[in-house]
Amino acid sequence: MTALAHVPTPTGQPAAPPPLPRGGRRRLLPYLLLLPGAAWLLLFFAVPLFQLAAASLYDPSGSLSTGYALTWAFGNYPDALQAYWPQFGRSFLYAGIALVLAVLMGYPLAYAIAQKAGRWKSLLLVCVVAPMFTSFLVRTLAWKTILSDNGWLVGLLRDVHLLGPDGRLLATPVAVVLGLTYNFLPFLVLPLYASLERLDYRLLEAAGDLYASPVQTFRRVTLPLSMPGLIAGTLLFFIPATGDYINAELLGTPNEYMVGNVIDSAFLVRLDYPQGAALSFLLMAAILAVVFVYLRRAGTEEVL
C-alpha cells in the first residue's frame, strides 16, 4: 500500500523532465541533512578560530598552570614577529622557490599526461598520486637516505664539482626546498592535468595552421586555456607548503626552521600560547593576503 500511495503523486507538472518536486513538508529536510555536518564544522573549525584569536591577545605573562587573562594584548603580534621574522620570512621564501620549481616540473608532466600519453594516461596518473599512498613522514625520511653524505647523489655532485669535496645536500636549504617541492607537487599537477585534459588539440593545430610558432602557440593558446588549473594548483601547493614544518625539521637544521617549527615549539615545548597563537594568526593573514593579491593579478577572482 505504501508503494501505491507514493507513485503517481500528481504534482501538476508534465511528465517529461520535471523540476525537483517540492512539498511543504520537505522544506525542512535539507536543514536536517545539513545539521550534523555543519554543526561539527562550526564547533570544531569556526569557533576554534575565534578561540585562537582570543589566545593571541592573552596577557603574555600568564602561563598554562596559572591561567591566562584576556587583556587584548595586541603587543603580542609585533613581539612575536620581531622575535621570529627570519623563520616567518623563510616560510614564504622556501614555499615560493618550491612553487616555482614545482610549476617548472609539474607543467610539462601534466601536459604530457593530458596530451601525449595516449593509453598510458591512467598508469602515469597513478604514478603521480603514488607518493600519497605511503606515509608523508616516511617518504620525507627517504630523502634523508637519498641526500645522505654517503649517498650516490652527493658522490656524483662532488665528482662533477657541483659540490665541493665537503659539500652537503642534507641539512641545507636545498634539501628543505627539494622536500617541499616533492611533497606538494601532486597537488599542483592534478588540477593542472584536469585543465589540460579538456584542452582541444585542434585549437593547437589551428594555431599552427595560422603560422604560430610552438612558443607562440603555448603562450597564446595553451597557457591561457590552462590558467584555471594552474591557479588552483598553485594555491593547493602554496598554502600547505607555507605552513609545513616537517621538511624543515627532518631535512634541515634550526638554521632552516620555518614559522611552523616555531609555532610547534611555542605550543608544545615552551607552552607560550599567546605567542604561538599570534604567529599562527599572522601566518593565516599573510597567506590570505598573498592569495588575494595573486588572484587579483591573475585576474580570476571567481576561483574563490
Binding site: 607518493p131 605511503t134 606515509s135 608523508f136 600547505p240
Partner: protein, 280 residues
C-alpha cells in the same frame, strides 16, 4: 635533422618521465630500506640485505601499537565523516534552501586553511574548555578536516547522476525509500566508497593537526616523528611499503571493476546518457 624533429616532439615526455622519477624515487627507497639492516640506529644508509624486518614487523612493539591506534582513529573518523559528509552532499545537490553560499563557504574553508592554523586553534579551544587531549580529541579533529573532502567527492558523483533513473523507479511503483535503496544508493555508492577511502588515508597520514591535539596518544605519524630524533627502526619502512602495496592493490581492483562494469553495462543501455554510466 630527424633527430631535432624527434627531440622537438618528445622532449615534453622526456621531462615528464624525469619528474615522475623524482616523484617515485622515495617510494623505491622506502621499499629498499624495508630490507635493510642498518649499521647503527641513526644511520639512514643502505647497509645489508635482510628479511628480518618483514618477518618481525612488530619487533618494536611501540610502533605496532601506534599503527593499531592510527587504524582505530582512522576507522572511527572515516565512518563519522562519511555519514556527515554524505548527508550534506545530498542536501546540497538535491535540495534548494536559503543559506547555501554560507554552507558552501563552511565546507570550502577547512580545505583552504593551513593545517597549522586548524591544529593550533583546536588546541586553543580544547585547552580553554578544559578538555583533556587524547584519543577522542584526535578523532574530533580528523572528522573535522575529512568532512569537506567527503562532501566534495560525493557531490561530484551525485551531480553526475541521471535523475531520470529515480523517476523511472517511481514510475515502476517503488516507494521513495525503495527508490533510494535500490536505485540511488547503488549508483552513488562508488562515490561514497571513494570518499571513505580518501578520508581514511587523510586521517591515517595526518601529522600536523594530530600533533597539536593528541596529548600523550601516539599515532603512527607521531611515532615516526618522535623516532626520527632517537633513530628510526627499519620496520617503519615495512609499514610504509605495506601501506603503499595495499593502496596500489585497491586502485588496481577498482580499475579492474570499472573496466568490467563498462564492458557489461554499455550494450545493455546505450542511450541512457554518458553521465549516469561513467564508472569508478
Amino acid at each position: 635533422m630527424r633527430l631535432t624533429r624527434w627531440l622537438a616532439d618528445h622532449w615534453v615526455m622526456g621531462v615528464a618521465l624525469l619528474v615522475l622519477g623524482y616523484l617515485t624515487l622515495p617510494i623505491a627507497v622506502v621499499a629498499a630500506l624495508s630490507f635493510n639492516r642498518p649499521s647503527s640506529r641513526l644511520s639512514y644508509d643502505f647497509n645489508e640485505f635482510t628479511l628480518d624486518n618483514w618477518q618481525r614487523p612488530c619487533a618494536t612493539s611501540d610502533m605496532c601499537d601506534a599503527v593499531v591506534r592510527s587504524v582505530q582513529i582512522g576507522f572511527i573518523a572515516t565512518v563519522v565523516a562519511t555519514v556527515l559528509g554524505t548527508l550534506m552532499a545530498f542536501a546540497l545537490v538535491r535540495h534548494r534552501f536559503t543559506g547555501r553560499s554560507g554552507i558552501n563557504l563552511l565546507i570550502f574553508l577547512p580545505m583552504a586553511t593551513p593545517e597549522l592554523v586548524m591544529g593550533t586553534s583546536l588546541l586553543a579551544l580544547f585547552v580553554s574548555a578544559g578538555v583533556p587531549q587524547g584519543f577522542w580529541t584526535v578523532v574530533i579533529a580528523h572528522v573535522m578536516f575529512c568532512v569537506s573532502f567527503v562532501v566534495v567527492t560525493v557531490k561530484a558523483r551525485l551531480a553526475g547522476m541521471d535523475r531520470r533513473l529515480e523517476e523511472a523507479a517511481a514510475d515502476l511503483y517503488a516507494s521513495p525509500w525503495q527508490a533510494f535503496r535500490l536505485v540511488t544508493l547503488p549508483l552513488v555508492l562508488p562515490g561514497i566508497v571513494a570518499a571513505a577511502l580518501l578520508a581514511f588515508s587523510l586521517s591515517f597520514d595526518d601529522f600536523i593537526i594530530t600533533n597539536f591535539n593528541a596529548g600523550t596518544t601516539i599515532t603512527f605519524p607521531m611515532y615516526v616523528w618522535g623516532a626520527a630524533q632517537r633513530g628510526i627502526p627499519p620496520q617503519v619502512n615495512v609499514i610504509g611499503t605495506a601501506m603503499f602495496a595495499i593502496a596500489l592493490l585497491l586502485v588496481g581492483l577498482s580499475s579492474l571493476r570499472g573496466r568490467r562494469t563498462r564492458r557489461v553495462g554499455l550494450p545493455a543501455a546505450p542511450a541512457t546518457g554518458r553521465r549516469a554510466k561513467s564508472p569508478s
